[in-house]
Symmetry: C2
Subunit: 200 residues, 2 copies
DNA sequence: GTAGAGCACGAACGGTCGTGCTATTATGCC
DNA sequence: GGCATAATAGCACGACCGTTCGTGCTCTAC
């Protein structure tokens, strides 16, 4: 790994944190450069445009998400345990503890709100990431059906839709409302969702 | 109503639409002025600061929301019908048809993502509005329990949390993912939520 | 008929943004 | 150890931002 690659990762790591707090659009090249201790033009040269920076941060965050959420969850046993692991890992990722090095909320949810009405490659990248995530939930649900943990006539996409709703409600109540009951309500909602999807 | 009041409403109506598309922070005074056909400084004088404009747009949007979602739903019969009306009205409000005069998505959800990490009066105003909305859902749930439509041991706040999750999932899939199945999945999720909350 | 309030305008301010260009320094290969 | 090249810094630009200020209309009240 050359020195440039190292610097690039340093930038992306900081960029991911800033994007989680302020969003991808508010992420400014000058302030990000200050944060990593280099010049604006030096940082700029790595990405050649702001859109390039945004896409790179998005790709880096996506890798981070896969490594910290999806991959660990995949080592849980197929079926219900894996679904639980996906939820647990997401909760830890989307609302980091105060002692974590990560800041802010979920970069993708922040970006989703910012770009849902702004056509372009950034919007497409965000949408693709999120489609992949929901697909992962859907596949895990299908596996739980195969394993006999969930009803055979369950619609996996419908289950994923509702599970994602639980996640969104958690993120919303935890981050905007500072609702202390957010976590227990999230778990209760998920248990109810599971219970209603189990074989009779 | 004086001429100034009339202009002010014109500005706020346009501001609400812009905020639904681009967000409250990206709403720029100059471009908003162009849109309503007046000068930047003339518009500015109405609000004395950008924060003042944001708070005014928020208050105006809140009134609009109450008038188009909450009030009509309150004329539905107490209990389950009213809960259904709240959902239906929200869906029409949060993702307007193409032929509607309104544009963009839900101003509050957009603002929630923008301000959840930015302390200040705007964040507080957004949070208060959303707390009120969830309180309205919670109260409607309590009434449905009183009416015997829902289980007596149901936790209204938990039900509201999950109903809000369904709404958030709809907004997300409809606006970012352009998911054509968003609406039927939303209705299916709500039916399942209702079914699991009805008396045994 | 005139004083005054309300309202909007245009110009300009300091600041930050993304983005080019050019120089300078650091790195890695022979 | 010199040399090509990668990496970073410095500087300037045009555009746009929120904000301020002085000015001029157009009504209304006396």
């Amino acid at each position: 790994m050359t020195k440039g690659d190292h610097t690039r990762i340093l930038i992306l790591e900081a960029g991911m944190n800033v994007a989680g707090v302020e969003g991808l659009e508010a992420l400014s090249i000058g302030r990000l450069a200050d944060r990593v201790g280099m010049s604006k033009s030096g940082l700029f040269a790595h990405f050649r445009s702001k859109e390039g920076l945004q896409l790179a941060v998005l790709a880096y965050t996506r890798d981070h998400f896969i490594q910290h959420v999806v991959v660990p969850a995949m080592s849980a046993p197929r079926g219900e345990p894996r679904l639980r692991a996906l939820l647990d890992r997401w909760l830890a990722w989307g609302a980091p503890d105060a002692d974590s090095s990560r800041e802010g909320g979920c970069v993708f949810l922040q970006a989703a709100a910012e770009f849902d009405d702004r056509p372009g490659s950034v919007r497409e990248a965000v949408a693709t990431s999120q489609r992949d995530w929901i697909d992962a939930l859907t596949r895990a649900t299908s596996i739980a059906i195969e394993e006999g943990h969930l009803r055979a006539d369950l619609d996996p996409a419908q289950f994923a839709f509702e599970m994602h709703g639980v996640i969104l409600s958690f993120h919303f109540q935890r981050r905007l409302l500072d609702e202390p009951e957010a976590l227990p309500r999230t778990r209760a909602a998920f248990e109810r969702l599971l219970a209603s999807a189990r074989p009779a």
